[in-house]
């Protein structure tokens, strides 16, 4: 096993613009491995855009221009000629609203394994079970694995999406406000899961609730209108903010 470098993701002067409207400006950040990094900031400041640029998901949209370096595991993944699906496989995405695939619960988790041919048919069921257990969904769905995934509750769907992402064995889990569409109980479940997962994965969490960031984050990045104003270990940033905007954000004057 190769030793994971201290910084899993690093960006150098990353710029992103949609339709000639610059959303991210000169982003230079470091995301430490096997920790939970929270990206916080007022809404509309480019948090989601930054998150989706990590696994090159922005490219499927119209009229996007991305420049700069994006270094994952010591390799610049913005270099042309790389196989983008393989990069994405390494980074699971949990979106704001859960989007299970239009298939059964079982097939949802098995999908990633099937397309990558990672597992033989026999091992497939075991792998699916393991992923579902990891997110605590197994006992809830083991009797109806072949029901449509759309029949699950939203909270269950979100955990299914997590299980689906874990099945392909990513290194990084990107979460885009994963609890904002959920009821409080389900949100707490997902939050606990993320805390558990950071032992084995690098977790990047976009959140607009400050309290959530304070509860779970090890490392914090503060985005303000497309710029990174602060980054550092969570306790440092929260107890000792340097910029005026961060102070205002912490005191709840801007949200």
């Amino acid at each position: 096993m190769t030793k994971a470098p201290a910084n899993q993701i690093e960006t150098k002067t990353l710029n992103v613009s949609f339709h000639s409207n610059q959303v991210l400006k000169n982003i230079d950040i470091k995301i430490p491995a096997k920790q939970l990094t929270a990206i916080i900031g007022p809404s509309g400041c480019g948090k989601t855009t930054l998150l989706k640029s990590f696994n090159r998901l922005l490219e499927i949209q119209d009229d996007v221009k991305i420049t700069g370096e994006l270094i994952v595991d010591g390799t610049d993944i913005m270099k042309p000629g790389l196989d983008v699906p393989d990069i994405r496989k390494k980074m699971g995405l949990i979106s704001q609203k859960p989007y299970p695939l239009p298939m059964s619960i079982f097939e949802n988790v098995a999908y990633g394994l099937r397309i990558h041919h990672d597992k033989k048919a026999k091992a497939l069921e075991a792998a699916v079970q393991q992923s579902l257990q990891e997110v605590g969904l197994w006992n809830e769905v083991k009797h109806r694995l072949h029901d449509p995934a759309s029949r699950l509750s939203v909270g269950q769907q979100q955990r299914l999406c997590l299980a689906r992402a874990l099945a392909v064995q990513p290194e990084v889990i990107l979460c885009d406000e994963p609890t904002s569409a959920l009821d409080p109980v389900a949100a707490q479940q997902v939050e606990k899961l993320l805390l558990k997962l950071k032992k084995d994965y690098t977790v990047v969490l976009v959140t607009h609730t400050l309290r959530q960031a304070k509860r779970v984050a090890d490392y914090v990045i503060f985005l303000y209108f497309g710029r990174v104003l602060e980054q550092g270990p969570a306790n440092e940033v929260f107890t000792n903010p340097k910029s005026a905007e961060m102070k205002a954000y912490l005191s709840g004057e801007i949200s």
Partner: protein
């Protein structure tokens, strides 16, 4: 307002009623079991089994080919593959093709048939004409339902490491399934009922076609032929054929409802 509702409902009901009443009364078993040889057009016995078979032989292959072509184009029109501007241009072309009167497709095929010296009409060119007619219909209907696939779903598929091709074939296709089914059946309905394109391309026959290059009868052209006969009793037989067409259209609608409901089980909203 009420008056206009009455006019619309009245006239449409009237048409259905005329066909159903007259058609049902001239239906008989022999109509479904015999071909039109031996004077069906002259007021003697016989049936239109050959037209039913002919119509199915035309519409099924045409719908099949048009579906294969249509779904491929519709998937390719996604922004994942094609610049949205170009896709818009192709949509415009398809809309124009959809709007072209079907007789133009008939003339197009007839031109080719004359050019290569096969002017008599055949099953093959009937299928070609119907395929051309159905491609824009099926493509645009599938395209509309693919447009509805949420971006988040595609992002999910991509972030699991799917290639563009896998995302389209395995995820987008499943999500768009109800629209795809509706599109296929819409195309089939148009194909089996269209007379103008077939009129110029398949000729006529009292027998079952035995090869691709035989002439054949079909339901819509048979209505035309029967209706143009001077004898009133023969003319009324056209109602029976029209009744069968009406039943087919109704069946298609019922099947569409059933299948779209069934296939939307897995759809993510």
């Amino acid at each position: 307002m009420i008056a206009s509702v009455l006019i619309v409902i009245g006239s449409l009901f009237f048409i259905v009623l005329v066909v159903v009443l007259n058609g049902a009364s001239s239906l008989s078993l022999e109509i479904f079991t015999q071909t039109s040889e031996g004077g069906f057009y002259l007021g003697k016995g016989g049936g239109f089994l050959n037209a039913i078979v002919g119509s199915l032989l035309l519409a099924f292959p045409a719908t099949g080919i048009a579906f294969l072509v249509g779904i491929v184009i519709a998937l390719y029109l996604q922004r994942d593959f094609l610049h949205p501007g170009i896709a818009q241009f192709i949509r415009l072309c398809l809309d124009i093709l959809w709007g072209i009167p079907s007789i133009v497709y008939g003339v197009f095929c007839l031109t080719i048939m004359i050019a290569i010296g096969m002017g008599g009409g055949s099953v093959f060119f009937g299928i070609v004409a119907l395929t051309l007619l159905e491609i824009p219909i099926i493509t645009r209907s599938i395209d509309e339902s693919i447009k509805m696939v949420p971006l988040g779903l595609k992002e999910s598929a991509y972030s699991l490491g799917s290639t563009k091709y896998e995302t389209s074939i395995k995820v987008v296709r499943k999500q768009a399934m109800p629209g795809i089914i509706a599109g296929i059946l819409l195309g089939f309905g148009r194909g089996i009922g269209d007379a103008a394109s077939i009129l110029l391309t398949v000729g006529d026959s009292n027998y079952f076609p035995t090869s691709l290059f035989d002439q054949t009868a079909a339901l819509p052209t048979m209505i035309l032929n029967l209706a143009s006969m001077p004898d009133h009793i023969v003319q009324r037989k056209a109602y029976a054929v029209a009744f069968v067409l009406l039943i087919i259209v109704l069946l298609i609608s019922i099947i569409t409802r059933y299948l779209t409901k069934k296939s939307s089980k897995y759809i993510i909203k």
